[in-house]
Symmetry: C2
Subunit: 211 residues, 2 copies
């Protein structure tokens, strides 16, 4: 009767349901039903519903932020070697690309990216602080890189523009399956690479504009 992957199944089910419905509208009974485990297993393995959410968040967030940092550091090193400033587009790409790749077809992380998008939006919610605590040091690094890349733009402008970028990015993290009414001639299904490029064009242009 012992199942070697009980914890993983709970985590997978929780990730999916928290992403789809949010923390408060997902019950442990829904999770354990989907995972085909017993209700008390959640408390045994994770302690509480909140701790389960924390485990769900942390399981992928570390690797995602590592990828982002790698991309950033790669550009910073390159810029140093070539004795130039880091390029804004490469900086923004390091933030955007690994994130949106999480929603690529074949990715196992589609639910996770939705969940992250939700957590960013739910400013008073249970997972928000956990998530932000992980995000903030990384965003500071991006901010510093942008200040270096764009000395002609006031640093406080760059702070707010990074905020706007996070808003656009989180919106794209959530909205992969609901498009509302689409104008004639527009295909709501789009390749991830194309979406990434469009978002980069948009945000980099916004970053670089001198008022």
């Amino acid at each position: 009767m012992s199942q070697p992957d009980t914890k993983q199944r709970i985590l997978d089910a929780a990730e999916e349901l928290f992403a789809r419905n949010g923390f408060y509208a997902t019950s442990l009974r829904q999770i354990t039903q989907l995972a085909e485990v017993n209700l008390a297993a959640v408390n045994y393995h994770f302690g509480s519903k909140e701790e389960l959410l924390e485990a769900v968040i942390l399981r992928h967030l570390g690797p995602l932020n590592d990828k982002r940092r790698q991309g950033l550091e790669h550009e910073l090193q390159l810029a140093q070697q070539e004795e130039r400033r880091p390029r804004p587009r490469q900086i923004m790409n390091a933030l955007v690309e690994p994130t949106l790749q999480l929603r690529a077809p074949g990715s196992d992380h589609l639910a996770f990216v939705t969940l992250v998008g939700r957590l960013l939006a739910d400013t008073q919610g249970v997972g928000h602080e956990i998530f932000v605590r992980q995000m903030v040091p990384m965003l500071m690094q991006f901010y510093q890189a942008l200040v270096e890349a764009l000395p002609e733009v006031d640093p406080s402008l760059l702070y707010w523009r990074l905020h706007f970028t996070v808003g656009s990015l989180s919106h794209m993290m959530r909205c992969h399956d609901r498009h509302g009414v689409v104008p004639p001639g527009i295909d709501p299904e789009i390749e991830i690479e194309a979406l990434i490029n469009m978002l980069l064009d948009f945000t980099v242009a916004g970053m670089e504009v001198v008022p």
Copy 2:
């Protein structure tokens, strides 16, 4: 014992609590406590919790969308008279400015703007469809205006860029009181006019860029 403004008090309390905590994490008992009315009054006046949310959404949304449309129509008329294309910045301003003015000091609509930001993010939530149903026709108008304003940019790009803008805007609607860690020298308190201008600079630059 009869109170002439029971409905308004319920609506005000609901607006505040739904905005702060979201629909699912707000109970009717919290709302009626804050409003100092009896629990059954909600069902008597509004029918159900969901219908209360709908009433909360609709009470301000009509006027907000009217303002947005007015701003847009004004620019379209002006452009027609002057025999020129509409200006992208004026179009975006019509979308952004009335929205963010809702969070200006002295505004009674701070909770509402937060609630709208939440609803946009909660793609499976109760209020989302109600809200989107009101938004979509208006966004189509903005989209058409942008297509007219920027003939050198592919219309499908403009569709996605409008999406990105909605993402940034809704992020700013939610995040008025939580800034996370702020870099040294940056003041997280900012005047609404300044914020509006910054967001416009950012989004208009992103709209206009030709790939």
